[in-house]
């Protein structure tokens, strides 16, 4: 067991898996000589060589499309989109090709690839280094979309994603990279994709979130505990498959539900979670389903007050939790 932050957990996991399985290759912009702009592949070029650590041309469609070809031919590519915001030139390859290849070939072909992408705001990244992209990808059947929030899950879910026979979009919140630390077992283990987890038990309301927001929700819940309000906090971990059962079980206990996400509130993950709670647990509810999400502006602005206005934070979450608990 070693204490690590999220980015170190991802680095170490990928490195250990490349040592164990020589079909695993990484490709992306700056993943070689630079070791990735977030240092996720630091040292890989020296250890594994340029055949398996591919500094690609600056072309995200190429990164996605070449990874698909590699996966079809039996490699296990882990492609890096330098920022999730830059993944859209590769969107066509990911949603039209990777996602649909198993289906369109009636199971004859499959695409066991992982697309890693740092996402999310609060890091002064402005419009094009702050976006949350999970809803775009989770909308398309054929993809799995996961958002580990802890170093433990970062390791276990990355290994599961590499093992998965289908394409997995593996989203890493940039602000969690060095902020969030935790114990990581040294041995190899996997965490299933599609299992949410209750990280904090409570009785007064259920708060569903993922990524950085999950940590903010836990913090807000801790503050309210001193007031005698106990919030149950669910970390979704996986957007698709969506573990609605764990959410419903919790809502059945607390009878109140809120969803917190940093992506635009409109048609974001919270819309789906809220809809499923309404469909399946309407009569368990003692209050409205509350959603906290990003405002409907094109993306996160740069200046610190503007960024703070966009991002859900612990204070905002705490206020909304209190309001709902007292409803």
């Amino acid at each position: 067991m070693t204490e690590k932050n999220v980015v170190t957990a991802i680095h170490d996991t990928l490195q250990e898996e490349m040592r164990r399985d020589d079909t695993v290759v990484v490709l992306g912009e700056d993943v070689g000589a630079r070791g990735g702009v977030f240092r996720v592949t630091m040292g890989f070029l020296d250890e594994f060589g340029e055949g398996r650590v591919v500094d690609t041309p600056l072309d995200e469609a190429l990164i996605a499309g070449v990874a698909i070809g590699m996966a079809i031919d039996g490699l296990r590519p882990v492609a890096e989109m330098q920022f999730a915001d830059f993944s859209f030139p590769g969107f066509n390859q990911i949603i039209q090709e990777a996602a649909r290849i198993r289906y369109r070939s009636n199971g004859d072909f499959s695409v066991p690839m992982v697309v890693r992408a740092p996402y999310g705001g609060g890091v002064h990244g402005a419009l094009y280094h702050s976006q949350s992209v999970e809803a775009f990808y989770a909308h398309v059947p054929g993809l799995k979309v996961v958002v580990p929030s802890t170093p433990y899950d970062a390791k276990g879910m990355l290994l599961q994603a590499i093992e998965d026979e289908d394409p997995v979009i593996y989203l890493e919140h940039k602000k969690t990279y060095r902020l969030i630390k935790g114990d990581v077992p040294d041995e190899r283990y996997t965490v299933p994709l599609g299992k949410a987890v209750v990280r904090r038990e409570g009785t007064d309301l259920t708060c569903v979130s993922y990524g950085l927001m999950h940590h903010y929700c836990v913090e807000a819940a801790e503050r309210l505990s001193s007031e005698g309000l106990e919030v149950e906090v669910v970390d979704l971990r996986s957007i698709f498959p969506l573990d609605i059962d764990t959410v419903l079980e919790s809502v059945g206990k607390t009878n109140k539900a809120m969803v917190v996400y940093e992506d635009n509130k409109f048609l974001g993950v919270g819309a789906e979670v809220a809809a499923q709670i309404a469909e399946k647990a309407m009569f368990e509810l003692d209050g409205p389903i509350v959603r906290i999400g990003g405002p409907h502006v094109p993306a996160m602005p740069f200046a610190p007050p503007l960024e703070a206005w966009f991002m859900p934070d612990v204070d905002k979450i705490e206020q909304e939790m209190r309001k709902l608990a007292e409803f």
């Binding site: 290759v25 055949g51 398996r52 591919v54 690609t56 041309p57 072309d59 469609a61 190429l62 996605a64 499309g65 070449v66 990874a67 698909i68 070809g69 590699m70 996966a71 079809i72 031919d73 039996g74 490699l75 590519p77 030139p89 066509n92 390859q93 039209q96 090709e97 649909r100 290849i101 198993r102 289906y103 369109r104 070939s105 009636n106 199971g107 004859d108 072909f109 499959s110 059947p141 054929g142 799995k144 998965d164 026979e165 289908d166 599609g194 498959p241």
Partner: protein
């Protein structure tokens, strides 16, 4: 015509190769004629014609080794996939959307070829996306030191797509065992080459650091010669090649298109006079591989084979509607 004899011998082709190439060209042509007939009868809602492209496709496909090399075709490549192992029945199973359609079990539109068993990589409708898959597969083959060459085909319209550029660029950077074949039929649906291509397609290869060649796509032996050289280069570790084969499609883009709105009748007629099949027959006769009697016999036999394949496919089962929810994920039931 003694020189003609030298031509195919120089290319390493035996008489039986020539006869097989000829047979596949006929097979594609007759499949096309049959599918148009079925379309007119209301039995086939959508047809992607191949007629006119048979020489470019059979000639280029012939340069690859079946079972070892990999094909990343586009939708017009019926003759190519026949060479790669599809039967006429397979073609018609796809046309009707039947359960046993090898490409997709009736899920995709006709002419979206794919078959793992035959090393034909599944394709989609967006243009030139397969070129990047071909680049990824070629990279993988090179990394694994497998003796395998990848071919990818598209039209001249496909060369405008970013994915084509990306694949060419990656092939150049990594000296991939990859052959790009562009079947330039001068029209991307209605848009003429003059509005599609700045400069010339084959010359672009130089900018990516590998050679490009142009050839007569209505000449099956020239199509073969250029592609064979490229495949040999790729196999020898000398990297990628671009080949532009000039040809023409005899019909509209698909059965939903009407080429009379953008092509002059005289132009179509002129190109039909350059039909690759009679042209190859002339060559075959000139080198005494075939005579008129044998041509008639082969045509009749191939036509019967195509008719039989179409009939069997028509009589076969549609997929079970409930199967439409399957094969979304390996390990999840989603419906």
């Amino acid at each position: 015509m003694a020189k003609g004899k030298d031509l195919h011998t120089d290319l390493g082709l035996k008489e039986e190769d020539l006869l097989e190439m000829y047979r596949y060209m006929l097979m594609a042509r007759f499949c096309d004629e049959r599918q148009w007939g079925l379309n007119r009868q209301g039995k086939a809602p959508f047809v992607v014609p191949v007629s006119g492209h048979e020489a470019a496709q059979v000639g280029s496909a012939w340069a690859f080794e079946k079972g070892k090399d990999v094909f990343c075709p586009y939708y017009r490549d019926m003759a190519l996939v026949l060479v790669a192992g599809f039967t006429p029945k397979d073609v018609f199973l796809g046309l009707f959307g039947k359960k046993d359609d090898p490409s997709s079990g009736g899920r995709q539109m006709p002419a979206h070829w794919g078959s793992r068993e035959r090393n034909i990589i599944t394709g989609s409708s967006p243009i030139a996306t397969q070129c990047l898959h071909a680049a990824g597969i070629a990279y993988s083959k090179k990394l694994k030191k497998e003796d395998s060459v990848v071919g990818t085909w598209c039209g001249e319209g496909g060369t405008s797509e970013g994915d084509w550029h990306g694949a060419m660029n990656f092939a150049g950077v990594h000296k991939l065992p990859l052959v790009f074949v562009v079947e330039n039929n001068q029209y991307a649906i209605s848009v003429h080459e003059s509005k599609q291509v700045g400069g010339r397609v084959y010359k672009r290869a130089e900018g990516y650091g590998f050679p490009g060649f142009e050839g007569d796509g209505n000449d099956v032996l020239e199509s073969y010669r250029l592609t064979k050289d490229a495949v040999d280069r790729a196999r020898a570790g000398e990297g990628a090649t671009l080949i532009e084969l000039r040809t023409y499609r005899h019909y509209s883009h698909t059965s939903d298109d009407d080429d009379r709105t953008y092509r002059k009748k005289e132009e179509v007629e002129e190109w039909k006079r350059k039909d690759p099949i009679p042209r190859f027959e002339t060559y075959l006769k000139s080198v005494d591989v075939i005579d008129d009697g044998k041509i008639a016999e082969l045509r009749e036999k191939t036509k019967a084979e195509v008719a039989e394949g179409a009939k069997e496919a028509e009589q076969s089962d549609f997929p079970d509607p409930l199967s439409a929810g399957q094969n979304v994920y390996a390990d999840l039931e989603v419906v």
